[in-house]
Amino acid sequence: MTHNLPDANSWKNVMNRPKRGVPEGLWMRCPGCEATIFRKEAEKRLGVCPECDYHWYVSARKRIQQLFDEGTFEEWDADLEPTDPLEFVDKAPYSQKLKDEQKRTGLKDAALSGTGMIRARRVAFSVTDSAFIMGSMGSVVGEKLTRCIERATQQHLPLIIVSGSGGGARMHEGMLSLMQMAKVSAALARFDTAGGLFISVLTNPTMGGVAASFASLGDVIFAEPKALIGFAGPRTIKATIRIELPKGFQTSEFLLEHGFVDRIVHRCDLQSEIACTIDYCGK
């Protein structure tokens, strides 16, 4: 084949030409298959790629909208706010980072909790948003979840926690963050002793201290397809053992295969699967 390559100057002209085409935000690129997707189409499918079924990130508020019967959700403990107990400073102070993240995400911290109806069944509900400092668990996340679990115990409600956290325990609050793992797990142990039903939903990603506490303690554990779920991050593992990690390592499918997940549930079926589980357990 012969090509008549344009000379360097004409290419420059092409590159410098003002961009024309569709308005911003009408189309989006799927991080899974790189296909260009019509945004409205994706939103209709709850943020799932129509081409490859890749489950995109959904914010905590959007998740509530997707799961709950319209207008039934009532938020708990909305006035809990993080502070900076260690006066932690890395490249920038943690207090500043909090302000930036709050502005960027519109959330006070990485978790929301409350109660509402899912297909006409009342539940206690918490969700972590993986966009707020990687969805990491600090004192506020720990406290919100614990209060939510305690209310579920008192009011005999089924408990649903949707977790998304790439960070695990939040470094900026040091050991206070690590202790949230024990605090939430202890609350779940009481909920369990009281006979409560806990459905844990794992989304992309669920790692570290979040995976190693409440996310793994469900009576029933659901995972969204192809989510990254595990204890140690793939990079840490690679640096320790110095061999290539197998394909599909630490995905939902990997966990299902090794027996740590009950069901892989497509986002569009989540509502009905939760309702079905609640009915089976007679809650």
Binding site: P85, F88, K183, A215
Partner: protein, 347 residues
């Protein structure tokens, strides 16, 4: 001390002075007038150790906690307890050598001891992955704890790990799940639990056997949400910032006592536990004896309620713009009821 001992950089003046004293001692055998000088230098040595060890920065604390000659679980098993009967295996997959479990006797108390083991020789270190436990280790610990509760035995946990093992097998066998259920079960285990961070308290791997009625740490141990190297790598994008990270993470015994994450700090011999295993073991024994005496008397419901509340109150946050009372433990005066008097520990 022998020539080939591991010397940390800030300890050099101590070793130099010790070498001088040693030389003089040999000399003083022939020259009695040198004895006075030896006595003088010994006094200086004590002052020097006091000075250096009272001003350790957080990173130096980490170095002391990782000192290869620091006493580890097997040393304490020998020095603190009258007898140790090891119980192996998780009855599911294998026997993780990074966690040792078994029955032991302390005075008249029969207890279940669970402890991370790092290993002294290279061979031992490799066999127990430098104290990094796999899921079978935590599963074993959990099974033995449940057995202890069944037979009314208190549980003693010795924490010494850089973290749970990050590897393919560990993930395949559910590292996250076992650590979670370990905390879950420990929070409601109907028997007294005493946990002591003896050297390194590395994140989830440490907390996996770290939920108890009493949580203490040795003076120069550290307990952290992430290793200082790991934190520096993530937040500063370079491991060279490990010293800053160690400082920022507030991982020393002093900081954690202030934050009420630990109930007690057990004093180390002058110049660190690695200088006197026997004295350290003795102090630990006194701590265990005192704690056991207090905890065993309590009714189980009361014990479990107190254990729940202890962890329930951890965390600092604002509610409606102010810090609620129960979360204000950041600066709360931590009055420990059973601090070991220094003289008692020396006996």
């Amino acid at each position: 001390m022998a020539e080939n001992t591991h010397c940390l950089s800030f300890e050099r003046p101590i070793y130099e002075l010790e070498a001088r004293i040693q030389k003089l001692e040999i000399l003083s055998a022939q020259k009695p007038e040198a004895r006075n000088e030896v006595r003088q230098l010994r006094r200086e040595l004590t002052d020097l150790k006091k000075r250096i060890y009272s001003q350790l920065n957080p990173w130096e604390t980490v170095e002391v906690a990782r000192h290869p000659e620091r006493p580890m679980t097997t040393d304490y098993l020998e020095l603190v307890f009258d007898e140790f009967v090891e119980l192996h295996g998780d009855k599911t997959f294998g026997d993780d050598r990074a966690i040792r479990t078994g029955w032991a006797k302390l005075d008249t108390y029969k207890v279940m001891v669970i402890g991370h083991q790092k290993g002294r020789t290279l061979k031992e270190r490799n066999s127990c992955f430098f104290g990094c436990a796999h899921p079978e280790g935590y599963r074993k610990a959990m099974a033995k704890m449940k057995m202890a509760a069944k037979f009314h035995m208190p549980v003693i946990c010795l924490i010494d790990t850089p973290g749970a093992y990050p590897g393919i097998g560990a993930e395949e066998r559910g590292q996250a799940q076992v650590i979670a259920s370990s905390m879950f079960e420990m929070s409601r285990l109907p028997t007294p639990i005493i946990c002591v961070v003896i050297s390194e308290g590395g994140s989830g791997g440490a907390l996996g056997i770290g939920v108890g009625d009493r949580v203490a740490m040795l003076e120069h141990a550290y307990y952290s949400v992430i290793s200082p190297e790991g934190c520096a790598g993530i937040l500063w994008k370079s491991h060279t910032y490990k010293e800053q990270a160690a400082k920022a993470l507030k991982m020393t015994s002093k900081d954690l006592l202030r934050l009420a994450v630990v109930d007690d700090v057990i004093r180390e011999p002058l110049g660190g536990a690695h200088r006197d295993h026997h004295l350290m073991a003795n102090r630990l024994k006194i701590f265990f004896r005192n704690s056991l005496r207090e905890l065993i008397e309590q009714p189980i419901d009361q014990l479990l309620e107190a254990r729940y509340q202890k962890f329930r109150n951890m965390g600092v946050f604002l509610e409606g713009g102010v810090q609620p009372l129960e979360s204000a433990n950041g600066e709360a005066s931590v009055q420990s009821s059973h601090r070991i008097p220094a003289d008692a520990a020396l006996s």
